[in-house]
């Protein structure tokens, strides 16, 4: 483990594991067999044979890993890059804070899952992508959309259910799509985005190798959470992506909690990054609260995919500062755990770095924050003033073919849609 560095992708060869430390969590024997402890040094994950109510779960700093005190030097970045990252992260944070306000004011509805705390992951990866590269996200997708370049206006209007939204109000919070920006969707179910992302990567490889588009070097980044890594689709796609050397990066945003289910209570071996190696792809663990470290790992993983060397699995250890959704009472996460991660706020971390390295002044950062405030205000005003979708829109877009029955030999649509399938809608 000492050989492990957060900045190097591990080659796919056997790694000496400390897995003997772990015992599988068996509900019949112990309620929770893993807990992490802040203070204990090694091993940081230990087993308890008692109920967690006797020994409450404690979660350590980042650190799933025993020896991760020294993550090596922080990479150097240019002023331009630092400010770009800072702006994107502030945009993500401010946008989500505004979403919470608007949700409570009844401007948006349903499930709204906010990304606060995890910005370093979205920014660290997506800002390295080209516009044509593709991103597949989850129900927590607003900030991925923003990082990928979808305008705050379009995302906010979508959340307001307005015709000017990026999906004309038909998608909603959990289903942001933008073909123009290579955003292939927010998927609301655990695991279902991963095969779709793998399919996008398959297409890139197919275009290059079968359709002979030699300049096609597109990369797909699939974002998903720790809860997904116990789902079969994750393992099925790791296998196929490695088998076919697809240009994809699997990015685990491990925020340690799947709603109220602690990662350590749900997962027999909580070190997700190690699951790449058995499939023959590099796996790496990175501090997801540090955008520069994320970016460093992301750069290598994305370049590796672009070079045609195949997929990588990156586990970013992060934390969500809010509940699972705005409807989650968030009663199971301990206050000290929340406080611990709040102190490691990725935006404050980057700000500190920028100031310490004289990449920008405090007032320059303030200017960026003010600019973002304006962007968000503008997005809200735009969304609020936008029209709701017209009644006629209800029955549009069910098929690419507007009649839904295909094209006949005469080149015209074959059949009129029978009225009875319109249900209640008297459009």
């Amino acid at each position: 483990m000492a050989a492990f560095s957060a900045f190097r992708l591990l080659p796919p060869h056997p790694i000496p594991l400390q897995s003997t430390l772990f015992k599988p969590s068996i509900p019949f024997l112990s309620y929770s067999s893993h807990h992490l402890s802040f203070s204990s040094s090694k091993p940081s994950i230990s087993s308890s044979t008692f109920s967690s109510r006797l020994h409450p779960i404690q979660v350590a700093p980042s650190d799933l890993l025993a020896d991760k005190t020294d993550l090596g030097p922080v990479p150097e970045i240019s002023r331009e890059v630092a400010l770009e990252l800072y702006e994107d992260m502030v945009l993500g944070r401010s946008f989500e804070d505004m979403c919470a306000q608007m949700y409570y004011r009844g401007k948006m509805f349903g499930f709204v899952h906010l990304y606060n705390g995890q910005e370093a992951v979205s920014t660290g990866f997506i800002k390295l992508l080209k516009k044509a590269d593709t991103v597949v996200s989850t129900y927590r997708d607003h900030v991925h959309a923003l990082s990928k370049g979808v305008s705050a206006r379009a995302v906010m209007a979508e959340l307001f259910g307005k015709a000017t939204g990026c999906c004309r109000g038909q998608g909603g919070s959990m289903h942001m799509f933008s073909a123009e920006h290579g955003l292939l969707g927010g998927f609301a179910f655990i695991g279902e985005g991963i095969p779709v992302a793998t399919g996008a990567a398959f297409t890139a490889k197919y275009r290059r190798e079968v359709l002979k588009e030699s300049d096609c070097d597109l990369v797909t980044v699939a974002f998903f959470g720790d809860g997904t890594c116990n789902n079969g689709q994750f393992f099925e796609c790791l296998n196929m992506a490695a088998l076919w050397k697809l240009p994809i990066v699997f990015v685990v945003e491990n925020n340690l909690w799947a709603i109220g289910m602690s990662h350590f209570r749900a997962t027999s071996d909580p070190e997700i990054w190690k699951k790449g190696q058995p499939f023959g792809m590099p796996g790496v663990h990175v501090d997801g609260m540090d955008v520069l470290k994320v970016r460093e790992v992301a750069k290598e993983a994305i370049e590796r995919a672009r070079r045609g060397e195949g997929p990588s699995l990156v586990e970013c250890e992060t934390y969500r500062f809010r509940g699972h959704s705005l409807a989650d009472p968030d009663e199971l996460r301990r206050p000290d755990e929340k406080a611990h991660y709040a102190a490691r706020d990725p935006i404050l971390g980057l700000k500190k770095y920028i100031l310490e390295h004289n990449l920008a002044t405090e007032s320059e950062l303030k200017t960026i924050e003010a600019k973002i405030d304006d962007v968000i205000e503008d997005a809200v005003e735009f969304a609020d003033a936008s029209p709701v979708p017209p009644r006629s829109q209800l029955l549009e877009n069910v098929f690419a073919d507007p009649k839904g029955f295909g094209i006949g030999p005469d080149g015209k649509y074959r059949c009129e849609d029978p009225g009875f399938t319109q249900g209640t809608a008297q459009v």
Binding site: H175, F189, N230, I259, V388, Q393, A425, V427
Partner: protein, 377 residues
């Protein structure tokens, strides 16, 4: 029925203190309810009805287990399993990782081998990730094994359109599962339905798909002492006539029963007497009750939230055409969700699911009353 009768006897002398506690809790929760009905002093929510049904069945039979995401420490994503972890422990109230295919298959295997698992889907939309085990492992095993392997399992969770959650989280699976032989499909509307049908489902020797509705969990209904008794159980395959009438029959299930009752109220003011049938069981379907009602009223309106094509209404319509065609005085009216994935925008969403006025309008059409077109959005 024999099984149910036996269980009732078995429950007779069972755990009166447990029942007492349950009643006590129900009374306590009643005391803070704002409304009270003179005719029925007790009211419980659908949520409490489901919770108490689970509680009583787990208490009565140690082979009953509850498995799913967030059912334990989180007390259920919709708090249906509140308190059960404390009462029955982590061996019987099992928090699973997010692995529908895995834990559904495990539940089916456990049922093959003698347990009576209740599998909770956080919403029924997620059952799609496990549908292979529901259809292929659970529904078909008794037949394939020539009756050697029965599968006493309940798949339950909220179904149908919620509010503002978009296309992937808003759909009705009643007709999906009701098309499959080997499954029983129940859709409770009221607290009485929820209690009686869930108990029946857990006691049933076959796989039951139990479709709740998220938007109904907080609704309170008056209940009788009989409903609160731990031996209470409703027959599977029997509909309930919620309101008697003579001019038009309205069939509905789940949340739509409430809409149908509201529509009937409006219709009565206009001199139309509507009979409202709460289907309760989608498979088996109570064709006898539906047909005898239609033979009386000579008109039929079917209501469901699901997609129109090949839906529950289509099956009811077929049944009436087959058995009571000569009794019909008007074409059957079918009200369903719009034939589109659920849109997110609130105005479009409202148009995509049946509303009370849609039912009123359709019922009037069957009675040849003039009907104004829907107002434009």
């Amino acid at each position: 029925m024999l099984g149910v009768a036996r269980r009732r006897l078995g429950c007779g002398g069972f755990s009166s203190s447990m029942l007492g506690q349950t009643l006590e809790r129900i009374r306590l929760s009643n005391s803070i309810l704002p409304r009270s009905f003179a005719s029925a002093a007790k009211e419980i929510t659908v949520r409490d009805a489901l919770n108490s049904a689970l509680d009583e069945e787990m208490s009565a039979d140690s082979k009953v287990i509850l498995m799913g995401e967030e059912v334990g420490e989180y007390q259920g994503a919709y708090k249906i399993s509140k308190g059960l972890l404390d009462k029955y422990g982590p061996e019987r109230v099992i928090d699973t990782p997010i692995t529908e295919a895995g834990f559904t298959g495990i539940g089916v295997g456990a049922a093959y081998y003698g347990l009576r698992p209740v599998i909770e889907f956080m919403t029924f939309n997620f059952s799609l990730q496990a549908i292979d085990h529901i259809i292929n492992s659970a529904a078909k095993s008794n037949y394939m094994s020539a009756g050697q392997i029965s599968v006493p399992i309940v798949f339950r969770g909220p179904n149908g359109a919620a509010a503002g959650v978009g296309a992937q989280h808003s759909q009705c699976f009643a007709s999906w599962y009701a098309t499959c032989p080997g499954l029983k499909v129940l859709c409770p509307y009221s607290a009485e339905d929820a209690r009686g049908l869930l108990k029946a489902a857990i006691r049933d020797p076959d796989p039951v798909v139990f479709l709740e509705n998220e938007l109904m969990y907080g609704e309170s209904f008056p209940v009788s002492d009989e409903v609160l008794d731990s031996s209470f159980c409703l027959p599977i395959g029997k509909a309930k006539i919620e309101r008697e009438g003579k001019d038009v029959t309205i069939t509905a299930f789940s949340k739509m029963v409430g809409y149908a009752l509201k529509a009937a109220e409006i219709l009565s003011k206009e001199g139309i007497s509507a009979e409202v049938i709460n289907l309760r069981s989608i498979r088996p379907l109570d064709r006898a009750t539906i047909n005898s009602s239609v033979r009386k009223t000579n008109r039929l309106v079917t209501v469901e939230e699901g997609f129109p094509q090949h839906g529950v209404g289509a099956e009811i319509c077929t049944s009436v055409v087959e058995e009571s065609f000569e009794y019909l005085d008007a074409p059957v009216e079918r009200i369903a969700g719009a034939d589109v994935p659920m849109p997110y925008a609130a105005n479009l969403e409202r148009m995509a699911v049946p509303q009370v006025e849609d039912i009123v309008r359709a019922a009037k059409r069957t009675c040849y009353r003039s009907v104004p077109m829907a107002a434009t959005a």
